[in-house]
Symmetry: C2
Amino acid sequence: MKKYPLLTIAKNPSAIILANGDFPVHPLPIALLTNTEYVVCCDGATDEFVSKGRIPVAIVGDGDSLSKLNKKQFAHILHSIPDQETNDLTKAFNYCLQQNKMDLLILGATGKREDHTLGNISLLADYMDQADVEMVTDYGVFTPISEDSEFESYLGQQVSIFNLSDADMSQEGLQYTLPPLKQWWQGTLNASLSDRFIIHTSGKAIIFRAY
Amino acid sequence: MKKYPLLTIAKNPSAIILANGDFPVHPLPIALLTNTEYVVCCDGATDEFVSKGRIPVAIVGDGDSLSKLNKKQFAHILHSIPDQETNDLTKAFNYCLQQNKMDLLILGATGKREDHTLGNISLLADYMDQADVEMVTDYGVFTPISEDSEFESYLGQQVSIFNLSDADMSQEGLQYTLPPLKQWWQGTLNASLSDRFIIHTSGKAIIFRAY
């Protein structure tokens, strides 16, 4: 059974993707950004990252969301990928795969436009087929799964489960049994009963553990 | 065919539900809040609403998220509904129905925890069976539909489409044809080509029009 530890500042991902949403303010994503050398920015995230004294390894996007100064200064690491079928987050993800970075954290992918937030979260279910990946927000961590999975947790941790398939799901170690999760809200507002819980599924799902 | 005008400050809903997420900052939801007398607060939204000099018609929730002062001051309008199967937004929605308020806007339902944002947006698909309802955020408007629908729009308006059923969908007046919308991200990042667009569907879907 695949196991997912609680995310801590000890995590050492091979790369962080910083997306176009709200720049992180929670101490955990801030610390992860500080500790990780290999950061790829979606272009809309670059100006704020640079303003904090950092330089990304690569900037992915058409460069339209960059300041003129940064667009010029970082032209050598700007990877413009024209493809209307994918968004900047997927372009940055694909760039990381090309660089053989297979243990990824995505930050800054929520906040601002809610349709982008929904889209970005759902992309985890595609990305998981190609790399180990979790999304870190100011409120918790989204983890995509496609098989029985064990999550490290703590008593009372708030947990939400989004079923992306028609597969039946069940749990061990959570407060409420899982109804058929036909709608997004039906798996929200659960809570952990101890230092771990297990999700049983044969389809794709995304698990949210709040801090 | 059902028609959905662009939301403006001229809208006169029978009630606004103010939920527990980020308090609105965009001028449109702020103006709607100002112009609407009948506002029902989820309890977590009350303190900020009151701090702006307003008094809700009703406060729905267990009162745990209220300041001591407001809990005492507004005890006479606090409707505590113990039900672990529904969240505060649904309790507030049901309260409005009981008061025969059938043309509703939901504000403050996004921001903060992303799992709550996802849950709240998806609840629109349930609510639409019982009332006319749209969700207004700082970035745009979510509208639930379950049949062919025409949307007022403008050239270049950003549009995202979330298919909540297995029904095939198609569009007139948008930039990109709709693929089979099996995943949330697949309907995002579209745009209107003129002053209206049409969504064809026989299943439930949620349409987002950005401002």
